[in-house]
């Protein structure tokens, strides 16, 4: 007994040690890529908001409470002590290591065969999608963690049938929603699955699902039971996420006068503009043909992660599990229809990878032809490194393509140079100089400035007053040039009154202080 106990401890300690090594590996990669100049919209958004909270002055409650997605945003807080610019990267590196630990710890409980653990380590070390998750500073890691926990508990529920697992799954879904709101639509596609579970749980002699359903519908008592159970299961799984979202919307309504503020305001979330911008940039190209076509989208997912087919094959005779595995396919197809002006980001590809690995974790032990199984598994995992790389390098989203380019070429990324230049100029302004800026689109510049306290931003009460009569509040105004494709999303653009009418009763005279391709900083006289 004691001997076994010791072995278990050793395994756990080994796992912890491997996780620490993986975390260090991610940190090194992430910081290296960051030093090469790689930033993405999401990271910069978090950096700017976190800096407002810790360095800004004024009414910050809305920024703290309503910035979305909330959980990844909060997760960057502790790491700002180290460096506000690196905080999101550190969070994602450590978070991805946590994801590894969660998966690996489930795996070692299920099987003693270390080969599977080896494959998992290899995957976490080299899969481009996972490296992107770990080193980009984006919130994907957290979504994947809760996605994994959600499905893990759903699978556990199938075997244990305890309220505990379904409740934990529900709580994980709540957390997932606060990492990515779009997962709320997952609730729609669980209806057939839940119906199937309810049907199977009825105490009937008949084994065939179709006949069970016929019997249930034709007997009033069974019908009532079936409906009650289906409804109860659905409620126990989804009422918490739905209620949480309703509460969150209510909070948005009471504090921002808009229930969808966290979804639709560029001050609350980064992707409202970034997604549209990314789509419009690509779609405006006359040669553009979107590879994201309904039905074929599922095929793309399978191409990205062929392991999922293998996972489906593993559960071939298990109705629940098959329906569970099909749910994310329906989900991404729906996302494509619902959010037709946005491309599917890497996160939605990676959920299939996580799900497929989860299936192998659950099913790894009982497989008969172990050697063949391992060979095929190894081959598919290696193949996925290529598909992962291919999908990232051919992504329609700039951030993803840039990442893989930098990872491959290790050349400096110049995309943020212009923002850094402008920020450097602002940093060099005389002490006490106040700059009016609209962080709906100017958040990258604000993120790079040294002192957020010198900026007058929309979260502050006197922002609108400053927009009306800038002379009374600020010495400089940051304006998005007409060439700036995002200028339309900001009030401080080339059509801003004081810029259009350089003199007037209410306006001071403006003079260009510093100009880049997309931004102009005006000085007020």
């Amino acid at each position: 007994m004691n001997w076994k106990f010791k072995i278990n401890i050793t395994r756990r300690q080994t796992l912890l040690f491997i996780t620490i090594l993986i975390a260090i590996y991610y940190l090194v990669c992430g910081i290296y890529i960051n030093n090469l100049g790689y930033f993405n919209q999401e990271t910069l958004f978090y950096i700017e908001k976190v800096r407002i909270i810790f360095e800004g002055t004024g009414y910050k409650l809305k920024v703290i409470g309503l910035t979305a997605p909330a959980l990844p945003f909060f997760a960057t807080f502790p790491f700002t002590v180290i460096s506000s610019l690196l905080a999101p990267v550190i969070a994602s590196a450590l978070g991805t290591a946590v994801l590894f630990y969660l998966m690996a710890s489930t795996l070692v409980k299920k099987t003693d065969d270390d080969y599977y653990l080896f494959l998992l380590i290899i995957m976490f070390l080299f899969h481009p999608g996972i490296l992107y998750t770990a080193c980009s500073g984006k919130a994907i890691y957290m979504a994947l963690i809760f996605f994994y926990m959600f499905f893990l508990n759903i699978f556990k529920f199938y075997t244990s049938n305890t309220t505990f697992h379904i409740s934990i799954a529900s709580i994980c879904l709540v957390l997932l929603l606060f990492c990515d709101y779009k997962f709320i639509w997952l609730t729609l596609f669980f209806i057939p699955l839940i119906f199937s579970i309810a049907l199977q749980s009825l105490n009937l002699a008949e084994k065939e699902s179709l006949f069970r359903m016929t019997q249930s519908f034709n007997s009033p008592s069974l019908r009532r039971k079936l409906i009650n159970k289906t409804f109860a299961l659905y409620v126990i799984l989804f009422i918490l996420p739905i209620a949480s979202i309703i509460c969150y919307k209510l909070l948005n309504l009471t504090n921002a006068n808009d229930a969808d503020y966290f979804l639709s305001s560029p001050y609350a979330t980064w992707n409202v503009i970034a997604e549209r911008f990314s789509y419009e940039t690509a779609a405006l190209n006359p040669d553009f043909k979107s590879p994201e076509v309904s039905v074929l989208l599922s095929a793309r997912m399978v191409m990205f992660c062929p392991l999922i087919l293998f996972a489906i094959a593993l559960f071939w005779r298990s109705t629940y599990q098959i329906l569970t595995l099909l749910t994310p396919f329906a989900f991404v197809e729906f996302l494509h229809i619902k959010y037709d002006k946005a491309f599917l980001v890497q996160e939605y590809y990676l959920i299939f990878l996580v799900l497929a690995v989860l299936c192998f974790i659950i099913k790894a032990q009982p497989v008969k032809h172990r050697l063949l199984f391992k060979v095929v598994l190894t081959f598919i995992i290696l193949l996925q490194f290529y598909t992962g790389y291919y999908f990232l390098s051919n992504s329609l989203i700039d951030d993803e393509r840039n990442f893989v380019t930098i990872l491959k070429d290790r050349t400096e990324d110049t995309q943020q140079d212009e923002n850094k230049d402008m920020a450097n100029y602002i940093n060099g302004l005389p002490d006490g100089s106040k700059v009016l800026a609209d962080d709906a689109i100017a958040y990258p510049i604000v993120a790079f400035t040294n002192d957020v306290g010198n900026m007058l931003l929309p979260y502050q009460d006197n922002f609108m007053g400053a927009v009306e009569t800038p002379g009374q509040y600020v010495g400089y105004i940051l304006i998005a040039n007409a060439k700036n494709t995002m200028a339309g999303y900001s009030i401080l653009n080339a059509r801003y009154g004081p810029v259009m009418f350089q003199t007037g009763n209410n306006y001071s005279t403006l003079q260009k202080a510093y100009e880049t391709d997309h931004w102009t900083l005006y000085k007020l006289y």
Partner: protein, 612 residues
């Protein structure tokens, strides 16, 4: 002709029964008449009919004269065992009441004790029981009331508020008033933040415990196989206390439920504890058309008139190795006693109590019974197992807690001044280093289906929680040392925080609704946005989590049709708040008053609970 011979002649008893009774009498020391009338052999009506046919006359004896000197020579337990009582000496004879005039042992006792011949008056065993307890039971009833107070005065709720507690309470009150006078806005902000945070923390803690509890929902403390392996011959005597007051409508149901118990009849020691002034229940027992399976104990009048006092009194007459309490309307799982014996056998010696789950058989009767079912499902299926897992004191439920008799005596029994004596006993047991276990067996009760009746019952519970908290928090440091930090926090969250939560809830809800409906600018001026933001989060998250925990519990019980009713919890809590304020008022003006819950109001027929 002896009484057994008369009964055999009339066909009310077989010779085989007589042999069985004689054997049982020899083994147990119980008298023939006691076994005959209390172990399901013969109904009282038939007994009287048979004796009347034989020319004997039953007399009404309550108004009979008695001589205290004569009574003093007889021990109540002996009189009770033989259902006989010497009253006075008249015409050089001892006037003796007897339910069995052929009880030679008792007749010899009279002759030997008084050196006189007895003059036997035939009377109903129930009347003799009543009279003997009323006349001779003072010693025992005083012990029932004052035993704990004498032995462990610090644990008695006789004193509701100690001086330091009063100083602390009024000190805090004065501090708040001073704060309000010096800085009204800041003080209200501090109070609001503290209250709403406390509300949220306590609910998150409950969710956490419920999740921990739900993790073990498939765990069976005792399996069916283990129950099957229990041998009847090895089973110990099991005492069941049935404290009742004016429950005449439930006596028939009670017998039905008790007969369904899977436990050898001869090894059951069932005591129906009836108050002295409760003729209704006594007459209901008298008028039963079928044999009773319990023994009646009449509790002499003594204040406070509470259930724990009755149970303490019953302890003096109990014979069991284990003891449990059921309410009159309870329907325990038929194998519950065997399960408990089996579990006690498996557990370490310091486990002195096993708490069974409680639930309701009339759950679908109306809104109140549905909500009650939700609440009990969550409490007994998740919370108590959660507390058990973390080794936090378990506030015992009102019934179906099974004790090791000797340890119960060692603990001093129940506190008769505490109106939730069960919760108090649970904490006291922990403080002495004993443990309480949870078992996978359920007792189905009758959920209160009438609102005012519900509020009465709930106000007593909440008042009892306040009493229990006050008693054990007389010396917080001492309590901390006794039950550890986990136990201390758990005790404060469950016993102390429960009434506070209910008292605070309508205030917070009221402020929230005013804010929502009227968008009161005055509220905004009192509370800055961050306070409102935090309070709204606390209130909403707290409510949602509690609703969810309730849903989880009914989901586990497979009461799917009740799941949506969990949403009505915020309304149900308002009823709790009403009861909490009533309880608080009573705590001050009449702390020991026992708000009687009327049972038997349900129109739903209970059925014997099947084995799970």
């Amino acid at each position: 002709m002896t009484i057994p011979e008369i009964l055999i002649k009339d066909g009310f008893l077989t010779e085989a029964d007589q042999d069985k009774i004689s054997n049982f009498s020899e083994r147990s020391g119980l008298s023939f008449i006691k076994i005959l009338l209390n172990f399901g052999y013969l109904s009282r009506k038939n007994y009287e009919r048979s004796l009347s046919n034989a020319g004997m006359v039953f007399k009404q004896i309550r108004e009979e004269d008695y001589d205290l000197d004569v009574l003093a020579k007889t021990e109540l337990k002996f009189a009770d065992a033989h259902l006989a009582l010497p009253l006075r000496i008249e015409n050089n004879k001892v006037v003796t009441l007897m339910a069995n005039p052929s009880d030679e042992l008792f007749i010899d006792y009279i002759r030997f004790t008084y050196d006189l011949e007895p003059e036997i008056i035939l009377a109903s065993d129930l009347d003799i029981t009543w009279l003997s307890h009323v006349l001779l039971g003072q010693k025992y009833v005083k012990s029932a009331v004052f035993e704990l107070l004498n032995r462990d005065p610090e644990s008695s709720a006789l004193t509701t508020f100690t001086t330091p507690q009063l100083i602390f309470t009024f000190g805090m009150f004065a501090l708040v008033v001073m704060g309000l006078m010096l800085s009204f806005v800041n003080t209200t902000i501090i109070i609001n933040v503290l209250l709403s945070s406390f509300f949220l923390v306590s609910i998150i803690f409950k969710l956490f415990l419920a999740l921990v509890g739900s993790r073990f929902e498939l765990h069976q403390a005792v399996t069916r196989e283990e129950v099957r392996q229990v041998k009847d011959d090895d089973l110990p005597i099991y005492t069941i206390h049935l404290p009742v007051y004016k429950e005449d409508k439930l006596i028939k149901k009670l017998i039905w439920n008790l007969q369904s118990l899977d436990y050898p009849r001869e090894k059951l020691d069932i005591k129906l504890l009836i108050e002295e002034d409760d003729d209704k229940t006594l007459n209901a027992v008298r008028n039963l058309d079928f044999p009773a399976v319990f023994e009646v104990i009449v509790v002499p009048f003594h204040m406070p008139k509470t259930k724990p006092k009755a149970c303490n009194y019953g302890l003096h007459f109990s014979r069991g190795e284990f003891l449990t309490i059921y309410d009159a309307e309870d329907v325990p799982d038929t194998d519950q006693l065997k399960k408990c014996v089996s579990l006690f056998g498996k557990l370490p010696n310091n486990y002195v109590c096993i708490q069974c789950a409680l639930n309701y058989f009339n759950r679908s009767e109306n809104f109140l019974t549905r909500m009650f079912t939700l609440e009990y499902s969550y409490w007994f299926d998740y919370m108590l197992p959660g507390l058990d897992t973390f080794d936090i004191p378990i506030p015992l439920g009102g019934t179906s807690n099974h004790f090791k008799f000797e340890f119960l005596i060692e603990l001093g029994g129940w506190d008769p001044f505490n109106v939730t004596e069960d919760a108090d006993l649970g904490v006291r047991a922990y403080a002495k280093g004993y443990k309480v276990a949870i078992i996978n067996s359920t007792t189905y009760e009758e959920a209160n289906n009438e609102m005012f009746n519900w509020v009465r019952q709930r106000s007593r519970w909440i008042k009892g929680y306040m009493q229990t908290h006050l008693v054990h928090m007389r010396n917080p440091v001492k309590l901390w040392k006794k039950i550890g930090w986990k136990g201390f926090l758990g005790f404060n969250f469950f016993i102390g925080a429960t009434p506070v939560t209910f008292l605070v809830y309508p205030l917070l809800l009221g402020i929230f609704l005013c804010y929502l409906v009227f968008d009161l600018t005055s509220i905004r001026s009192f509370f800055p946005d961050w306070v409102l933001f935090m309070s709204i989060i606390n209130l909403m998250v707290g409510n949602i989590l509690m609703i969810y925990v309730n849903m989880m519990a009914v989901f586990k019980r497979r009461y799917y049709e009740l799941i949506l009713f969990a949403i009505a919890n915020p309304v149900y809590w308002l009823l709790h708040s009403w009861a909490a304020y009533k309880g608080l008022y009573q705590l001050v003006v009449k702390p020991f008053y026992w708000e009687k819950t009327n049972h038997g109001l349900s129109k739903v027929n209970n059925q014997a609970a099947p084995v799970e």
